[in-house]
C-alpha cells in the first residue's frame, strides 16, 4: 500500500485507493459484527450462561440478523423533534469514527495515509463525535435523552484532556507524532514499559471516550433508560451502535500502535515467520477482550464523581508522567 502512496495519481492509482478503502470498510464492518457477537458470547460465558446460539451455527449469524432487523425496522422520528438535527446526529457520530482509521499503520505495508501528525489527527477527529451525541440528545426532544446528551458532553470533553496528555509521554520519547515512526521507535522496547503511567491513564480515559463501562453514563440503562439514543430506532440506531464499535476498533488499534509496538513481534520472537499484521491483530484482540472483561465486572460511575476523577485524578498523573519522561529523556541525551 505504501508504494501506492508514492506513485503519481493516475486513474488506476485512485481506483486502487477506492478499492482499498472499500476493503477496509468491509473489514471494519466484519469486525464490528463479530465484535458484537463475541462481546455477547464472552460476557455470557463470564456470567455462567452461553451467549447467543440460536441463529445460525453456534449463533454466528446473530449480529447479521440483528443488523438486518434494524435495517428493516421502521425508522420512527418523534413528532416535534428537531428534524434536521435529528437526522444529522447519527452522521456526526459515525463519520469521524470511520475517518479516523485512515491514519492507522496496521502493518509495514498496510497504511492509508502516512500523516506527520497522526496522533493529533486522531484526537481532533474523535472529538467531533461529542457533537453528534449532544445533537442527538437535544434533537430527539426527550427529557431522558437530553440528560444523556448533557452527561456525555461533560464526560467526553473532560476525558479528552487526560487522553491527550497521556499520549504526550510517548510523543516525547519518539520525538514525532507520526504513528509509523512511533512504531519504529518501539523496536527494542515497547512504550508500555517505560510509559506505564501514561498507559494506565490512556486506558482509563479511552474507556470514557468510548462511553463504555464504567463510564457508560450517557446511555445508563438503569437510570436514563437508554440515554441519548432512546428515541432512535431502525437504521439510525444501527448507526450509533456502529459508531461505538468502530471507535472501539480505532481505539484498539491506537493503543496497539502507541503502547504495544504495532506490528512488531514481542521482544525476542521476531525470528518467527509470522507477518506483522498477525501480531497487530493479536494485540488488538487482547485490548478488545479487556474491554469485554471490564464491561462484565465493573459498576458505573456516578455523574458527579466522574468529572473530579478526570480533573483531579487522571490529569495530575498524566502531567507527572510527562514530567518524568521529560527529565529522563533530557538526562539521557545529556542536556540536563
Amino acid at each position: 500500500m505504501t508504494d501506492l502512496l508514492q506513485q503519481s495519481t493516475s486513474l488506476w492509482n485512485v481506483s486502487m485507493f477506492i478499492v482499498a478503502a472499500v476493503v477496509l470498510l468491509l473489514v471494519v464492518l466484519f469486525f464490528v459484527t463479530y465484535a458484537i457477537y463475541f462481546e455477547r458470547k464472552v460476557i455470557g460465558w463470564m456470567q455462567l450462561r452461553t451467549g447467543p446460539n440460536r441463529v445460525g451455527p453456534l449463533g454466528l449469524l446473530q449480529t447479521v440478523v440483528d443488523v438486518t432487523k434494524l435495517l428493516l425496522k421502521e425508522d420512527t422520528r418523534p413528532k416535534d423533534a428537531d428534524k434536521a438535527l435529528y437526522a444529522l446526529a447519527p452522521v456526526l457520530a459515525y463519520a469521524p469514527a470511520f475517518a479516523v482509521l485512515a491514519v492507522m499503520p496496521f502493518s509495514e505495508t498496510i497504511q492509508f495515509a502516512d500523516l506527520g501528525i497522526g496522533v493529533l489527527y486522531y484526537m481532533a477527529l474523535s472529538s467531533i463525535t461529542v457533537l453528534g451525541v449532544i445533537t442527538a440528545g437535544w434533537a430527539s426532544n426527550n427529557k431522558y435523552s437530553l440528560i444523556g446528551g448533557m452527561r456525555s458532553a461533560a464526560q467526553m470533553i473532560s476525558y479528552e484532556v487526560p487522553l491527550v496528555m497521556s499520549v504526550l509521554g510517548v510523543i516525547l520519547m519518539t520525538g514525532s507524532m507520526n504513528l509509523r515512526e512511533i512504531v519504529e521507535a518501539q523496536r527494542d522496547i515497547w512504550n508500555v514499559i517505560p510509559q506505564i503511567l501514561g498507559f494506565c491513564v490512556f486506558i482509563v480515559a479511552a474507556q470514557a471516550e468510548l462511553n463504555r463501562t464504567p463510564f457508560d453514563l450517557p446511555e445508563a440503562e438503569s437510570e436514563l433508560v437508554a440515554g441519548y439514543h432512546v428515541e432512535y430506532s431502525g437504521f439510525r440506531f444501527a448507526m450509533f451502535m456502529l459508531a461505538e464499535y468502530v471507535y472501539m476498533f480505532g481505539m484498539g488499534s491506537l493503543v496497539t500502535i502507541l503502547f504495544l509496538g504495532g506490528w512488531l513481534a514481542p521482544f525476542g520472537l521476531d525470528f518467527l515467520p509470522i507477518p506483522g499484521i498477525v501480531w497487530f491483530i493479536l494485540k488488538f484482540l487482547l485490548y478488545v477482550f479487556f474491554q469485554f472483561w471490564i464491561r462484565a465486572t465493573m459498576p458505573r460511575f456516578r455523574a458527579d464523581q466522574l468529572l473530579p476523577f478526570a480533573w483531579k485524578g487522571l490529569l495530575p498523573i498524566a502531567l507527572v508522567n510527562i514530567l518524568i519522561t521529560a527529565v529522563v529523556i533530557s538526562f539521557q541525551n545529556g542536556t540536563l
Binding site: Q47, K143, E223, V225, P299
Partner: protein
C-alpha cells in the same frame, strides 16, 4: 393514581452571571422504568440533574386483596397472600396463618413449625438474592444478577419439589403445612446451605470490595434512628440506623427462640450500610437454617387439630412477624363466621416507601436509583 401535575409549580430563574435562563423540568420516572422494581411512578422535579422535589404515585398494582378477602373463607385467602410480596410468599402465608392460629389458640405440631421456619428462612435468602442481583444492575454491574439468580434457582427448585410451585407456594394451612418434606429433601437443603456459604465469599470478592461501588453508595440516602422510627420504617431500613429490633428475636414466634443468631445492625443509615446488612442477614439466615435442619424432628405429623370449618371467635387480632423487607402484620376482625369481617395487612414496603421523597431532596438521578434500590420495595406489597 392518575395525577393532575399542575399542583407542582416549576420555577425558572434568570441568572445575570451567565445570562442564561434555567428552567426546572418535570421528569416522569416510571411506571414503566428499568429500575423501579415494578409499576411505581415517581414524578421528579429536576433542575439540571439535582432533584428538587419528588412525588411517588402508587396504586398501579392495587388488586383489592383486602376487599376480596372479605368474600373468601380463610383457606381460600392463602393463595391471595402469595401474590402480595411475591418475592417472599412464605412469610405472607405464615402471617395470615399465625393470625388465625393466635385467634383460635390452635397448637402447631413441632415438625410443621420447623418446616415453616426452614421455608421462611430459605425464602428470605431467595428474596435477598433477588434484591442483591437487581440492586447491582441498578448500580451498573451486569454479572452479579446472573450469579444471584443461579443460586436463587436452587432454592426455587427445592420449593418446587416441596410444594409444587416456584413462586406462589400456597404451602401453609391454618394449623400446619400441607406437604411433608419429600424423602431426601432435607439433605438437598443442607447441601444448598453449604454451597451458598462458599458462594457468599465470591459475592463479596466480586462486588463489596469494588471501589467504584463503595463510593457510589457511601453517604447517600442517609437518615438517623429518630426519623426512621418516626416514619415507622422497619426491617433493614430501621436496623441500618442502629436500632437493634428484629421481631424474630424481640417478639419470638414459632420456634425461633430455639435458634441462636444475631441481629446485624449498622449506624450510618446510608445505602452502603443497608447493603452490608442485607448481605449479613443472608449469612444469619444460613445459620438459622443449619440449626433448624440439625434439630429437625424425625417424625411427627404436619397438621394440628383444626375444626373442619375454620371460624375464629368473634373479635380482632393483630400479629406481626419479620419479613425480608421489614415487619409484616395481619389484622383480622372476625364475626365468628368463616369469612373475615375485615382483614388488613401491614405491609413493610408500603411504610418504608414513605421516606423516599424526604431522602431524594437534593440528590441526583443516579443517586435516586441507588436510594430506591436500597429501600428494596416490592410493588405487589406496596399496592396490595
Amino acid at each position: 393514581m392518575s395525577m393532575n401535575l399542575d399542583m407542582i409549580s416549576l420555577n425558572s430563574e434568570f441568572s445575570e452571571g451567565t445570562g442564561l435562563r434555567t428552567e426546572e423540568m418535570l421528569l416522569n420516572v416510571g411506571p414503566q422504568h428499568p429500575s423501579t422494581h415494578g409499576v411505581f411512578r415517581l414524578v421528579v422535579k429536576i433542575d439540571g440533574e439535582t432533584i428538587k422535589e419528588s412525588l411517588p404515585v402508587i396504586g398501579y398494582l392495587h388488586r383489592g386483596t383486602e376487599k376480596l378477602a372479605e368474600g373468601l373463607n380463610y383457606t381460600q385467602i392463602i393463595p391471595y397472600t402469595d401474590r402480595m410480596d411475591y418475592l417472599s410468599a412464605m412469610t405472607n402465608n405464615y402471617v395470615i396463618c399465625h393470625a388465625v392460629e393466635t385467634m383460635m389458640g390452635i397448637q402447631i405440631p413441632e415438625r410443621a413449625d420447623f418446616l415453616r421456619v426452614i421455608v421462611m428462612e430459605m425464602n428470605r435468602i431467595a428474596s435477598h438474592l433477588v434484591w442483591w442481583g437487581t440492586y447491582l444492575l441498578d448500580i451498573g454491574a451486569m454479572s452479579p444478577f446472573l450469579f444471584a439468580f443461579r443460586d436463587r434457582e436452587m432454592i426455587l427448585e427445592l420449593f418446587n419439589e416441596l410444594c409444587g410451585a416456584r413462586l406462589t407456594y400456597n404451602y401453609m394451612r391454618i394449623g400446619g403445612v400441607k406437604w411433608d418434606a419429600p424423602p431426601g429433601w432435607i439433605e438437598k437443603v443442607k447441601e444448598f446451605v453449604k454451597h451458598l456459604k462458599k458462594e457468599i465469599e465470591n459475592y463479596h470478592a466480586l462486588v463489596t470490595g469494588n471501589e467504584i461501588f463503595i463510593n457510589r453508595l457511601q453517604g447517600i440516602g442517609k437518615f438517623d434512628a429518630k426519623t426512621a422510627i418516626d416514619y415507622s420504617l422497619s426491617g433493614v431500613m430501621l436496623r441500618s440506623t442502629g436500632v437493634k429490633w428484629d421481631l424474630r428475636k424481640d417478639e419470638p414466634y414459632s420456634v425461633y427462640n430455639r435458634f441462636e443468631f444475631d441481629v446485624p445492625t449498622a449506624t450510618e443509615g446510608d445505602c452502603l450500610a443497608r447493603y452490608q446488612l442485607r448481605m449479613a442477614e443472608i449469612e444469619q439466615s444460613l445459620r438459622i437454617l443449619e440449626q433448624a435442619l440439625g434439630q429437625f424432628p424425625e417424625e411427627g405429623e404436619i397438621m394440628g387439630k383444626v375444626p373442619k370449618v375454620i371460624r375464629p371467635p368473634q373479635g380482632e387480632t393483630f400479629v406481626r412477624i419479620e419479613s425480608p423487607r421489614g415487619e409484616i402484620g395481619c389484622y383480622i376482625a372476625s364475626n365468628g363466621k368463616d369469612k373475615p369481617w375485615r382483614m388488613k395487612f401491614r405491609r413493610p414496603s408500603f411504610n418504608n416507601l414513605q421516606i423516599l421523597p424526604k431522602l431524594l431532596k437534593g440528590e441526583n438521578i443516579s443517586n435516586m436509583v441507588a436510594i430506591l434500590g436500597s429501600i428494596d420495595i416490592v410493588l405487589g406489597e406496596v399496592d396490595a
